[in-house]
Symmetry: C2
Amino acid sequence: MGGVGEDMRVLESREWYIASYAPQGVPNSDHLKIRTAKLSLALNSIPERHVVLETLFLSVDPYLRSRMTGREDGLYLPHIFTVIIAFGVGRVIKSNDPNYSEGDIVISPVTPLAEYCVVSSQSITRKIDPHSGISTPEYISLLGVPGFAAWVGIEVIADPKPGSNVFISAAAGGVGMYAGQLAKLEGCRVIGSTGSDEKVRLIKEEFGYDDAFNYHKEKDFDAALSKYFPNGIDVYLDNVGGRMLEAVLNHVNKHAKIPLCGMISEYNKAWTEREGVRNLLNLVGKEVHMQGFMLGSYMDRFGDFAKEMEGHLKHGKIGSKIKIFHGIDKFLESLGSLFTSCNIGKVVIQVNE
Amino acid sequence: MGGVGEDMRVLESREWYIASYAPQGVPNSDHLKIRTAKLSLALNSIPERHVVLETLFLSVDPYLRSRMTGREDGLYLPHIFTVIIAFGVGRVIKSNDPNYSEGDIVISPVTPLAEYCVVSSQSITRKIDPHSGISTPEYISLLGVPGFAAWVGIEVIADPKPGSNVFISAAAGGVGMYAGQLAKLEGCRVIGSTGSDEKVRLIKEEFGYDDAFNYHKEKDFDAALSKYFPNGIDVYLDNVGGRMLEAVLNHVNKHAKIPLCGMISEYNKAWTEREGVRNLLNLVGKEVHMQGFMLGSYMDRFGDFAKEMEGHLKHGKIGSKIKIFHGIDKFLESLGSLFTSCNIGKVVIQVNE
């Protein structure tokens, strides 16, 4: 203990915590605050089978917001004053586990939103091969939360046939961009809705959507869907909820499938103030399957997903658009960007080089 | 043709038809009218593989109302002036099919709402054994639409485990009474909501529900469900939609299943005037499966259903409450009774003795 040559450094690490819950609205600096913690590198301060990570990238996803409401909605509810947890990539700078060495780059879905952190090596899902040819942020995008959510929604739950009419909302967001590409690889006709003309262009030109529309320019979603889906909708991957979901239910085909990935239009509102969906009776006559899903229930499929997605990536069949915020202090801004129509693609934070 | 001894009678048969669609409200005598048709018993007027039936019993179910809206909702939409079609039992009085003889009692899910009718023998799903010990109306109740709907909802879609917390709305209606008994046979804890104290008593005392409440007396469904489901809801067989469905979504457990059988609170309203369900986001966090179903998609399971239900019936494990209206002229009144809180059990019309 504390022998010659031992690294006795104490690192200062900035970290984000929940200062108060935000039941409504976009969380701001009253709710989410940054503080500096001290983290000792002395070996006897690191529990067995734990490692100290220098955080490289953190994944900023809409589900993080739903954990800040103070309500127990089936979504994980953290205690106040605890550090926020996200999907992340880090470099091992100290290890108390023989399976990990300094310099290893690892993925943990429960990485603290901090510059440095201690994680259980049981939480590590993967050690990255530096010669894989895959850029590091892809491990938390295409191969991370949004890629896996898109894959579960399209491949596991919707399971569309060639020629199926697939509609995807928030189509230029992290999940939407991959979901559309996966549905195209299945031979479907894919239409997306998104929040700007720039994003409409992006998803048609870069992600191969057959068509797309800017929902800000469509006052009548029902009319828009009549135009884009003359033969009805077989699959709707819902990322937004509310009025768009309601409009979709007027256009569903028999036995349509609606995987519910999240509802970005609804997270910031108290439930009694949300737009009610009035036409659920259509689910009966059209025998629609509507199914909410959380990735934690599909971890047994993560290996299949990663193998398939890496294959698509290596063969150039799937692409990403990643928006990188630089520095841990950008977390609040990056989270807020998810709730504007300005965000394009997957949002990540690069914490350290 | 027309040889010695041939039955050349022409029967007069009263029949119900749709005079005009009823987009909203309970259909009345402006929408549904009765007329007298003439039906020849001359053999050359009966197509091959068809039979003439004297209608005995007709099944009056909420889905009939949804076919009168004039909207194509995935539900079958009949043309105006055509005779209404229902699940029925009839006695063969003339046959042009070697497989059926005069006097046979048969079931057809597409029996015209008429005193006498001609049906294709392909539409006949069953010839009744007069020595089965099963009373004739049970073939359109326990072994008919409501029994099959309850069985598909509980056994096929929800598939509850022993100890599951099951909630059933419209619990003293045709579907509800069987669904609760089936869930009890699976070892579940079953609670029902219904529209009168008399029906609360009925379902607890005769159908074995663990508990039940009169929704007219519960101003706050949310509070009622907190009281009756301290451990949350695992299965909700929804027969009503609207505010009750919304309240349920605040009490669902992880991976809850919600078979949507119909929405009696919604049929009589234009969709834009229906109660919107505002908390569908709960489907995501709780990973709920919500699934509309129509019996036509499960006909391959009808044999399994009939065998199982007859077994339960013969062993006294399941009971029925059947409300019989007498005479074809009572159709409009019997249909209207489905939309009041006064109706108890399965509604049928006895057309002929």
